[in-house]
Amino acid sequence: MLQFISHYTEKYTYLDSVRMALEGGCRWVQLRMKDASIDEMRSVAVEAQRLCKEANATFIIDDNVALVKEIGADGVHLGKKDMPVYEARHILGEGFIIGGTANTFEDVKGLYLSGVDYVGCGPFRFTTTKKGLSPILGLDGYRSIVTRMREENIDIPVVAIGGITAEDIPEILDTGISGIALSGTVLRADEPVEEMRRLIDLEASKAII
């Protein structure tokens, strides 16, 4: 299960990145536009949502609960410094996916208790895509979080995030983590669409082994 998180580079705009991810077969997109104005974000979001609908992809937006509600996106991803989950749930109601960011098992448990639908857990390793990161988790970090989740019967999906490349995917899935969030590794590839396709095939083939 792959989530693509939008980003921009010298070559590609946010919207380009979403378009390429969808073309490569990704069916779960998070629009993240750090430091963008609300008007800029709204216009990109509307277009990204249209592309996702055409592709039957799930479309969620980072942080901006009001925008999610306004345009009827599929959900929101809340970072640690964003709106609390209960508040977002109160505004959005039950018909929206709410994801949260975790760095430790305690974060995961807190998010679970507050009613998130999935958790983005990381960073796996150091990444330049995001500033102000928490300590890195590595494979051992994921193993220990998955074990403790099982012990406490916490059954929400956890998506690994942060500096993940193709080579890491099989090992991360082996820890019991449900999915992978990617951004930089796709956009840095020579052919991002092909890279996305390769990553999705890699993940799907992992399931058969």
Binding site: M1, L2, C26, R27, W28, N56, A57, T58, D74, G75, Y86, R89, E94, G95, F96, I97, I98, G99, G115, V116, D117, Y118, V146, M149, R150, D155, I156, P157, L173, G176, S178, G179, I200, E203, A204, K206, A207, I208
Partner: protein, 65 residues
């Protein structure tokens, strides 16, 4: 048949993802499902046939809170 839903082995009589979603009373909106690590759009739930030990991940708007 036994399938794995969010890392938990679960018994179901459902033959397709669509029927499983009905059994689990998944809401019409705010749900995303992956089967064997691949996201399956709602439009394909009916044609997605379940098999033994299939790995299903359900992201859904929590009910009740």
């Amino acid at each position: 048949m036994k399938v794995i839903i969010n890392n938990k082995t679960t018994e179901t009589s459902a033959k397709t993802l669509f029927v499983l979603a009905e059994e689990m009373e998944l809401p019409q909106k705010g749900v995303a499902v992956a089967v064997d690590n691949k996201m399956i759009p709602r439009a394909e739930w009916e044609s997605t046939v379940l098999s033994e030990n299939m790995n299903i991940v359900i992201i859904k708007a929590a009910c009740g809170g």
